[in-house]
Structures are given as structure tokens and as C-alpha cells.
């Protein structure tokens, strides 16, 4: 059986290899800080396996996470100047390889689809080929490996280290923003442990006119959006707002249909994600990748859509949940 943890080890190994490259990259003024950050991340991906299985203590990993937060948060990471091809070389290569260049890029989703549908039910002996429930993630990993092999063949590149080097360039250009969504998921889980949701609930019950259905829907949807803007992640806002109002008021008191309330509530949160710089991976990373001067460009493009969709979600919940 192919286990999802093997994929995490592979990602961990890639981060570790890139960290080793960074440590020797003299063009990066902060090479040791960068190497320490990505090296810790790589080690955490591997060590996490035993934390999930509860066969290793979680505290050392927590310490590593705090160390990564300090390295990235206090400006100890930087980027080097990766050695790459010249524009003329790329144009010549594009002319030679043509549309075949798209084949490896399209291989990733194609293999992922294959794994998530056809190979999902394949069994070796009596055990499933892929770990149950993680077929899509495994498909993504296998797709990336197959695509790399196809890409190396296509470009007649004999040294896989070239791909690793090129990938490191992309990694460095994203920087710590690459890790932010995962850190936000961690924050949401800590808020949940600390009982933040229960406290917000006590506050909102005081604010809400008793039995007013529309006010409750409005409060839940707008609350999800606003909390998501603050936290940068609907995943972090959802447990807080659902414990505060979604479950006790909308479902408990007003007998709303749970699937509608919860699914639309989450989507109301996504409207918030569209307009917050805290959701760096969706809003600031694209701006950085596209080399925009205005890092809030994507947010400005998305804001009117987000507002309209929040209204839509409030309407959908009001009409279909009761």
C-alpha cells in the first residue's frame, strides 16, 4: 500500500536538499538563515509522521515551528540569484520543443485524476494500492514525479539537480508566504483548544434579537467573512463562528438545515479570503509570482466579486436553510 506519509517524506527530503543548496549559495546574503528555515521545514515534514501516529512527542516539533516562525518573522531569510537560462536560450528552446512543453505540466492533473478515480479501487492482494482517503493527495505527488520524469526526457536534461535548482528559485521567490496557510491552520486549532469560539458565542447571544432569523443569518455570514479577513483563513474562522452562532442559534434555536447552514457559512468565509492580505498564498503570492508592483492588485480585482457573492450567500442561506 502506498501511504501518504511517504509523500510527506519525499517533500521533506526535497526541502532538505534545497536547504543544502541554499547553505552553499553565496549569492544569498542570508544563506544560513534561509537554509535553517527550509531545513527545519524539511525535517518537520518527516518527524510529523511519528507525531501523527503519537509514537513521538509533539513538543520538539512545536519548538521547530516556533524556530521557523522566528527565522521568517524576524527577517533572517533571503533569496539568492539562481543561475538560469537567458531569455534568448529560452526562446530558442521554446521554438525547438513547441507545444510539447505543455505535456509535463498537464501530466500532473491527469495523473492525479487517474489516481483519484480509476486507481482508487485497485487492490494489491487484499490491500488497497493507495491509502484510503488520501488518493487525491497521493495522485498529486505521483503526478509531480511522473511529470518530472517526462520533463527531464523531453528537455534531454540528464541531471535532475537542474530541476531541483529551478524549483528552489520558485521556492525562494515565494519565501515564508508558502508556509503561512499551514501556520494559520495551526492557529485555528489552537484557538479551538483555547475555547475562543465559546467566548465569541457568549458575546453574540447578547447582541442578537431573540428569534430573528434574518439577523442571525446575517450575523453568521458577515461574521464568517469578517473573521476570515482577520485570520486570513476560513478554516481558522469556521470553528470559532460555528461554535459561536452557526450551531447554537441557527441550527439549535431556529432549526436551520445543517448542510445548508454549514456549507454556505464556509463559502461566506471564502468571500473574506478573497480580500485579505492575511491569505498570503492566494493574494500576495500570486502578486509576487506575477511580479506586480502593487501587491494588493489581486485583492482589488477580487473585492467587488467578494461583496456580491457575500450577498448571494446570505440570500441562499435565508431561502434554503429554513
Amino acid at each position: 500500500m502506498i501511504r501518504v506519509e511517504w509523500l510527506y517524506w519525499l517533500v521533506g527530503a526535497v526541502f532538505l536538499a534545497m536547504a543544502a543548496q541554499m547553505a552553499t549559495d553565496r549569492s544569498n546574503p542570508k544563506r544560513f538563515g534561509s537554509a535553517a528555515f527550509w531545513g527545519l521545514l524539511g525535517a518537520s515534514f518527516c518527524y510529523g509522521t511519528w507525531v501523527v501516529q503519537k509514537t513521538a512527542p509533539a513538543a520538539p516539533l512545536g519548538l521547530a515551528v516556533l524556530a521557523m516562525i522566528c527565522l521568517a518573522g524576524l527577517g533572517f531569510t533571503g533569496r539568492g540569484t539562481p543561475a538560469t537560462t537567458t531569455p534568448a536560450q529560452r526562446a530558442a528552446s521554446a521554438a525547438k520543443l513547441g507545444n510539447r512543453l505543455f505535456v509535463p505540466a498537464l501530466t500532473v492533473p491527469l495523473v492525479a485524476l487517474l489516481c483519484a478515480t480509476l486507481l482508487k479501487d485497485v487492490h494489491l492482494g487484499r490491500r488497497p494500492l493507495f491509502q484510503t482517503g488520501d488518493e487525491t493527495l497521493l495522485g498529486l505527488g505521483i503526478g509531480a514525479i511522473v511529470a518530472l520524469a517526462v520533463g527531464l526526457l523531453l528537455t534531454r536534461e540528464r541531471n535532475p539537480g537542474v530541476a531541483l535548482h529551478a524549483g528552489r528559485g520558485l521556492l525562494e521567490s515565494m519565501g515564508w508566504a508558502l508556509l503561512l496557510p499551514q501556520l494559520l491552520a495551526v492557529l485555528g486549532s489552537i484557538f479551538q483548544t483555547a475555547g475562543v469560539g465559546t467566548q465569541v458565542g457568549k458575546l453574540t447571544v447578547h447582541l442578537l434579537p431573540h428569534g430573528d432569523r434574518f439577523a442571525a443569518v446575517l450575523l453568521y455570514c458577515v461574521g464568517m467573512a469578517v473573521f476570515t479577513v482577520i485570520m486570513g483563513n476560513a478554516f481558522a474562522a469556521f470553528p470559532v463562528m460555528t461554535a459561536a452562532i452557526g450551531w447554537p442559534v441557527l441550527i439549535g434555536q431556529l432549526h436551520g438545515h445543517p448542510p445548508v447552514v454549514l456549507a454556505v457559512g464556509m463559502l461566506a468565509g471564502f468571500c473574506g479570503t478573497l480580500v485579505t492580505p492575511m491569505a498570503a498564498n492566494f493574494n500576495l503570492v500570486p502578486a509576487a509570482l506575477l511580479e506586480l508592483k502593487d501587491q494588493y492588485g489581486p485583492i482589488k480585482a477580487q473585492a467587488p466579486t467578494a461583496g456580491a457573492l457575500l450577498v448571494c450567500n446570505i440570500a441562499i442561506m435565508s431561502i434554503f436553510a429554513f
Binding site: V51, A91, N99, L101, G151, T155, L262, P286
Partner: protein, 234 residues
């Protein structure tokens, strides 16, 4: 009530434009301490939560192949291809990409697009080429707007497509949280079904805005043609 200070730290940190990574760290440690967790328990909470959220960062595995292809001219080829695909305006191209991205995400293919995998190497260069073909060279401002909308087509498509797929993180988060906390039994499929009305609204609203982009770009390039020194003068 005192644990709400953790939320305040996030708000204040963001308002003061501190590094988001640092804000998350400080707020997490403070909230856990305020909730009465000892220092070792705080580390435990961070470690356990980090280990179980690794899937969020898994997409980094695709970076080497994308980097390799970019080295060999993927972006240049995307431009060349778009140059040959006559008739498709920028707005139509982006609207088509929005729908493809939504359908892909709705069938669980969240890896089908993405800013690193598709927008930077393919969609943005294609959109730029389409505009240049119609309206001539792009001004700096038009290029910024174009790239921003290319990124937005990807993000809106992903957000309002993926929840129609039942094995996606947000659906699993909803069922996991609610079933464990309130001892009920919700099926992921029921939730995915009720994500469809919002997905349809997203297609209509953002699709219409992307189609309108053509007119905005035409107006901007016309404005730039009458004031050719604007870019140089500032």
C-alpha cells in the same frame, strides 16, 4: 473571556502591518498561555497541529518540474501559442479559464491550476498577448490590472469550485468539526451539494466582470495612446 485577547493580537498585528508569520506565532503562544496551558503543552499544541496540517503545503512537490519547464521556455511557448490563437479576447480567455478552473476543482482537481503552476507560466502571458494583439503595447497600469485579473480568475474559480467536491479540505473540516463536537452525523456529499448554488453565482458574477475587462482595457489603451508621455513623465 480573556482568550479573546488572542484574536485582538491578530487584528492589531495586521493593522500595524507586522510580518504575518510573526503575528500567527505570537497570537498562538499568547492564546494558549491565556487558556492556562503550560509551556510544554503550548509546544505540544503547536507540534500536533502542524503535523496534522502538512497537506496544505504539499503542492511544493510540483515546483521542480515547473521550474525545469520554465528554464526551457514554457512561458515563451505559452505566449507563442496565444499569439496563434486568433479571435479570443482577453476577457473571454480569462472567463473560459475561470470555468475550467471551477470544473477542475469541482472534480477534485485542485492541482489543475494555481498561480505557480498555471497563471504565471501560461494564463497571464496568454492574456497579455491577447491584449497586445488587439490594443497594441500594454501600459504598465494595464499590465498590472491584467495580471491581477488573471490571478483573480484562478482564485475565484478554485474557491467556488472545490467545495462541490466532497473530499476537499474545507468539506472534511466541516464534517470533522461538527461530527466530533456535536455528536451528529453529516455526510460530506450533502455539504458538497449545497455548495453548488454559490458556485453558480460565482461563475455568473466573476465571469461577467472578466468579460467587461475587455472594454476597460480598450478604454485604457485608447487613453494611453492620446497621452503617450504619461508613463515617461512621472
Amino acid at each position: 473571556m480573556i482568550v479573546l485577547l488572542g484574536v485582538l493580537i491578530v487584528v492589531a498585528g495586521f493593522a500595524a502591518r507586522r510580518n504575518p508569520v510573526l503575528i500567527v506565532g505570537v497570537s498562538g503562544v499568547f492564546t494558549a498561555l491565556l487558556a492556562g496551558l503550560g509551556p510544554l503543552k503550548v509546544l505540544d499544541a503547536f507540534g500536533a497541529a502542524f503535523a496534522s496540517s502538512r497537506s496544505v503545503t504539499l503542492f511544493a512537490i510540483t515546483l521542480p518540474v515547473i521550474g525545469l519547464l520554465e528554464r526551457h521556455g514554457l512561458q515563451e511557448q505559452a505566449r507563442a501559442l496565444m499569439g496563434r490563437l486568433a479571435g479570443l479576447s482577453t476577457g473571454r480567455l480569462l472567463a473560459i479559464y475561470l470555468v475550467i478552473r471551477q470544473l477542475g476543482a469541482a472534480t477534485g482537481l485542485t492541482a489543475l491550476g494555481g498561480p505557480a503552476q498555471a497563471v504565471r507560466p501560461m494564463i497571464a502571458p496568454m492574456a497579455e498577448a491577447a491584449t497586445e494583439r488587439r490594443h497594441g503595447p500594454l501600459t504598465g497600469r494595464a499590465r498590472e490590472r491584467l495580471r491581477s485579473f488573471a490571478a483573480s480568475a484562478d482564485t475565484v474559480g478554485l474557491f467556488f469550485g472545490e467545495d462541490c467536491f466532497l473530499a476537499v479540505g474545507s468539506i472534511l473540516l466541516i464534517t470533522g468539526f461538527v461530527n466530533a463536537t456535536y455528536h451528529t452525523h453529516l455526510e460530506p456529499a450533502q455539504l458538497a451539494l449545497w455548495a453548488i448554488p454559490s458556485a453558480v453565482c460565482a461563475t455568473l458574477v466573476h465571469g461577467a466582470r472578466l468579460l467587461r475587462l475587455d472594454r476597460t482595457l480598450a478604454r485604457e489603451s485608447a487613453g494611453a495612446a492620446t497621452e503617450p508621455t504619461l508613463e515617461g513623465a512621472k
